[in-house]
C-alpha cells in the first residue's frame, strides 16, 4: 500500500526552481523553437496559457503552442500521431495509460535530465511520482493529484432534518441518510450512485478490504467477496433502497449535473469538480464537501496527471525545459492559487485549499492520506472499459452483482494474460 502523505510545509526546493533558464539547453539548440503541448481539460486552459506565457518570458527562445483536444478524441489523436511518428512534443498522461505508452517506446525516459539538473523527485507526492516510473526509468514529472470526497447539499439536508456528514460516517450512516433525503414527490434523491470506477466503486472495493488488481498486477480482484461487497453497496442504493436515480437516468444527466441542480443531495466527486462548482452560483451557495464514509478501511483511489515527452521529439532539450518548468514550484503555485488542481508538488495543497474558501477543500487533501494510485497494468485500456461495461449490468439489474463481478474479473484476467505473453 503506497499511502501518500502530503507535506503541508513547503518542501525545500532544490534545483527545479524558476530562476534557472537552462543555459545548456539554450546553447545546444540554436535559434528559436516551438514546443507543442497537448492537453485535454478545457477548464485548465487559461491557467496553462498563463504558465506558458511566463515560461516564454523567462526562456525567450522557446515558444509553447498549447493544443487542446477534447477527451473524447484525445487518445485517438495521440495514438495515431505517435504511430505516425509525429505528435506533440510534450503531452499529458494519466496513470492508467502510462505503462502502455512507456512500454510502446513512444515516451522519452527523463532520468538523464533529472540527474543532470538535479531535480529532486522527493518534491512530489510519492504515489503519483511512483506511478510514472516504469522498468527503472522515470517518464514524467507529475502535474497534479486528485482525490474523491462526498459533496452534499446543505439546503436539502436542512429541509430533511438530517445532520451534515462527518468524518465518522460509515457506509450505513450514508445509506440511512440517503433514504431520509429521498423525496419522490419532489423528484429528489438522497445520493447519486453511478457505475463509475474512479469516483465510486474503486473506492468502496478498497474500503471493504478488496483489491481491483493484485499487487503483482497479474490477477483481477473484482470477484473477491470484499470487492463484491464494495459493488453491492452502490447497487443496493439504487435497487434496494431506491435512494438513487437509476443508472439510465444518470446516463441522461450525469451525477454532477443532478447535484448542482438540486436533484440529488449527495454525490462522490473528484477534486477536479471544484472549478465547476465555483462556476455555478446556486451550487456555490448550497454545496460543501465531507470525507468519504468508510467501511473496514478508509482507502480511496487517486489519479494524477504527468507531463511526458514524445520519444521522437525534434527538440528534446527544449521539451525538457518546458516539462521541468511545468513540474516546478512556480507552475504548481499558479495551478494551486487559481483553484485549478491540487498540484503534485508537495507543500502546495494549502494554497489550493485557500483558493476556494466557500468549500471545505481540506477534506480532499486529508483524503490523500488514504489514497493509492488507480489500478493500472501494461495495457489498462484493454480491460478498463470492457470490465466497467460488464459491471454496469449489476446496476441496471440485468445481472446479479456476483455474476457481473465474475464476468468482469474474467475479462480482466484474459487481458492480463495477454500482456504477459
Amino acid at each position: 500500500m503506497a499511502a501518500l502523505c502530503v507535506g503541508l510545509a513547503a518542501a525545500g526546493c532544490s534545483g527545479s526552481d524558476t530562476g534557472s533558464n537552462g543555459g545548456a539547453a539554450a546553447k545546444a539548440e540554436s535559434g528559436a523553437v516551438t514546443i507543442s503541448y497537448a492537453i485535454w481539460e478545457k477548464p485548465q486552459l487559461a491557467t496553462m496559457q498563463k504558465i506558458a506565457a511566463k515560461f516564454h518570458a523567462e526562456n525567450p527562445k522557446i515558444t509553447v503552442d498549447i493544443q487542446l483536444t477534447p477527451w473524447e478524441q484525445y487518445w485517438t489523436k495521440l495514438q495515431t500521431s505517435l504511430k505516425g511518428g509525429s505528435g506533440a512534443d510534450v503531452f499529458w498522461m494519466n496513470i492508467p495509460n502510462l505503462k502502455k505508452y512507456a512500454n510502446g517506446g513512444v515516451l522519452m525516459p527523463i532520468d538523464a535530465y533529472v540527474d543532470r539538473d538535479k531535480v529532486d523527485l522527493g518534491n512530489y507526492v510519492p504515489a503519483v511520482m511512483d506511478a510514472y516510473k516504469f522498468k527503472d526509468h522515470v517518464y514524467a514529472l507529475p502535474k497534479d493529484v486528485d482525490a474523491i470526497a462526498l459533496w452534499y447539499n446543505k439546503e436539502l439536508f436542512k429541509q430533511a432534518g438530517v445532520d451534515y456528514p462527518t468524518a465518522d460516517w460509515t457506509w450505513d450512516d450514508l445509506t440511512a441518510a440517503a433514504q431520509k433525503l429521498t423525496d419522490p414527490a419532489k423528484g429528489v434523491y438522497g445520493i447519486a450512485a453511478p457505475a463509475e470506477d474512479q469516483a465510486n466503486y474503486d473506492n468502496t472495493i478498497l474500503q471493504a478490504g478488496g483489491q481491483i488488481l493484485s499487487a503483482d498486477g497479474k490477477k483481477s480482484g473484482l470477484d473477491s467477496p470484499e470487492a463484491i461487497r464494495g459493488l453491492q453497496f452502490w447497487v443496493d442504493l439504487i435497487n434496494k433502497y431506491h435512494a438513487s436515480p437509476s443508472l439510465q437516468q444518470m446516463t441522461d444527466t450525469d451525477s454532477e449535473q443532478m447535484f448542482t441542480s438540486g436533484k440529488v443531495a449527495m454525490y462522490y466527486g473528484g477534486s477536479w469538480t471544484v472549478l465547476d462548482m465555483k462556476a455555478i452560483p446556486e451550487a456555490k451557495r448550497f454545496a460543501d464537501v465531507a470525507p468519504m464514509p468508510h467501511d473496514a478501511q478508509h482507502y480511496s483511489v487517486s489519479n494524477g496527471l504527468g507531463m511526458v515527452i514524445n520519444s521522437k521529439t525534434k527538440h528534446p532539450d527544449a521539451a525538457w525545459q518546458w516539462v521541468k518548468y511545468l513540474g516546478g514550484k512556480a507552475a504548481a503555485q499558479m495551478q494551486a492559487e487559481t483553484g485549478t488542481v491540487i498540484p503534485a508538488y508537495k507543500g502546495m495543497a494549502d494554497a489550493w485549499v485557500k483558493s476556494s474558501p466557500e468549500f471545505n477543500l481540506q477534506v480532499f487533501v486529508d483524503q490523500l492520506k488514504y489514497a493509492q494510485p488507480l489500478p493500472s497494468s501494461i495495457d489498462t485500456p484493454a480491460w478498463r472499459d470492457p470490465a466497467a461495461a460488464e459491471l454496469a449490468k449489476a446496476w441496471t439489474g440485468s445481472a446479479s452483482v456476483e455474476d457481473a463481478a465474475r464476468k468482469a474479473a474474467q475479462i480482466m484476467n484474459d487481458a492480463l494474460a495477454k500482456e504477459g505473453s
Binding site: P70, W71, Q257, G262, D276
Partner: protein, 292 residues
C-alpha cells in the same frame, strides 16, 4: 412552351386552395424537423437548473447568456473559418470536376472492363472511412503534408460517391442529344464539356452542396491530421470547446456551441425546384460549331 399549365389552371380551384393540403403536410413535417433546434436554442439561454425544470418553459426567466460567452475565446476563429472555406471550396470544385468526368465516362462511353472498373469504384464506397484513417495518415506523412492546409482537402477531392451520383444522373438523360453531337463528329471530351455538363447542372449542384456539407462536418480527419490550431478548420476547433472532463459528457455550462454554419446559403442555392423547359434545340448542331 411550358405555358400550357397556366391555361389549365384557370378552370380549376384557385392555386392556394389546390395546394392547401400540401402545405398542411409539409408544415407538420417542418415542425417535426425544426423542434429539436428550437429546443436547443431555448435551452442555450437557460441555466442548467432552468433547463431541468418541468414542465419545460419556452421562455427562460431570466435569460442566461453565459453559455455563449466563451465560445469565441481561445480559438483563432477567423483563421479557422478561412481554412474551412479553403478546404470546402477545394473539395467541392475538385469533386464536381473529377466526379462528373468519371461519371460521364462510366455512363456513356463503351470500353472494355467498364463493369469491372465501376465495381471497383463502388467497392470503395463500401469501406467505412474510419478504416482509411491510419493508412491515410501515413501516406500524408510520406508526402510531407502533415499539418498543412493541403492535407485537409487532398484526399477529399476523389470520391466514389460523387462518381456514382453523376453516373446515375447521366444515365437518366435522354441519348438523342449526345448522339446528335457524336454524329456531327464531336469527340467524347467535347460532348462531355459542351453538351452534358450544362444539362447536368442540377446534379452538379446537388453534389456540390453535399460535398460542401460533408466538408463542413468533417471532424476526425482534420483533427488528427493537423495539430496546429491555425491549420484546423472550424469543426475541429469547435470540438475542442465541447470537450468535457473525462468524467462527464456534457457539462452545465458549455452546453452549447454554435451548430450551424452561419449562413444558409448552401440551402438557398439548392437546385430550383421548378424545372426549366427541356429544350433540345439549343445543342443541336452545337458540335459542328465547335469542331474546327
Amino acid at each position: 412552351m411550358a405555358d400550357a399549365v397556366a391555361a389549365t389552371g384557370s378552370q380549376k380551384l384557385p392555386r392556394w386552395r389546390r395546394d392547401l393540403w400540401v402545405h398542411v403536410v409539409l408544415m407538420l413535417g417542418a415542425v417535426l424537423m425544426i423542434s429539436p433546434f428550437v429546443l436547443e436554442v431555448v435551452t442555450s439561454v437557460k441555466t442548467f437548473a432552468q433547463a431541468t425544470h418541468t414542465p419545460p418553459s419556452l421562455v427562460p426567466h431570466p435569460f442566461h447568456w453565459g453559455n455563449y460567452k466563451d465560445v469565441f475565446e481561445s480559438l483563432p476563429f477567423g483563421r479557422q473559418l478561412l481554412n474551412t472555406v479553403v478546404m470546402t471550396l477545394a473539395r467541392t470544385l475538385g469533386q464536381v470536376l473529377l466526379c462528373s468526368a468519371a461519371g460521364f465516362a462510366f455512363a456513356r462511353l463503351q470500353f472494355r472492363g467498364r463493369g469491372l472498373l465501376f465495381g471497383l469504384f463502388l467497392s470503395v464506397l463500401m469501406v467505412p472511412s474510419q478504416l482509411f484513417l491510419l493508412p491515410n495518415y501515413e501516406i500524408m506523412q510520406h508526402l510531407g503534408l502533415l499539418n498543412s492546409i493541403s492535407a485537409l482537402w487532398l484526399p477529399g477531392i476523389f470520391s466514389a460517391f460523387g462518381t456514382f451520383l453523376m453516373r446515375q444522373f447521366f444515365l437518366q438523360l435522354p441519348r438523342e442529344l449526345e448522339e446528335a453531337a457524336r454524329i456531327d463528329g464531336a469527340n467524347p471530351l467535347q460532348v462531355y464539356w459542351w453538351v452534358m455538363l450544362p444539362l447536368a447542372t442540377p446534379a452538379l449542384m446537388a453534389l456540390a452542396i453535399l460535398t460542401a456539407i460533408w466538408s463542413w462536418n468533417d471532424l476526425l480527419w482534420p483533427l488528427i491530421i493537423n495539430t496546429d490550431p491555425s491549420k484546423m478548420p472550424v469543426s475541429a476547433g469547435l470540438a475542442a470547446l465541447q470537450g468535457g472532463a473525462p468524467h462527464q459528457l456534457s457539462r452545465p455550462d458549455g452546453w452549447l456551441a454554435p451548430s450551424q454554419p452561419a449562413d444558409d446559403r448552401a440551402v438557398r442555392d439548392l437546385p430550383a425546384p421548378c424545372p426549366r423547359g427541356h429544350r433540345v434545340h439549343r445543342s443541336q448542331g452545337l458540335a459542328t460549331a465547335l469542331t474546327p
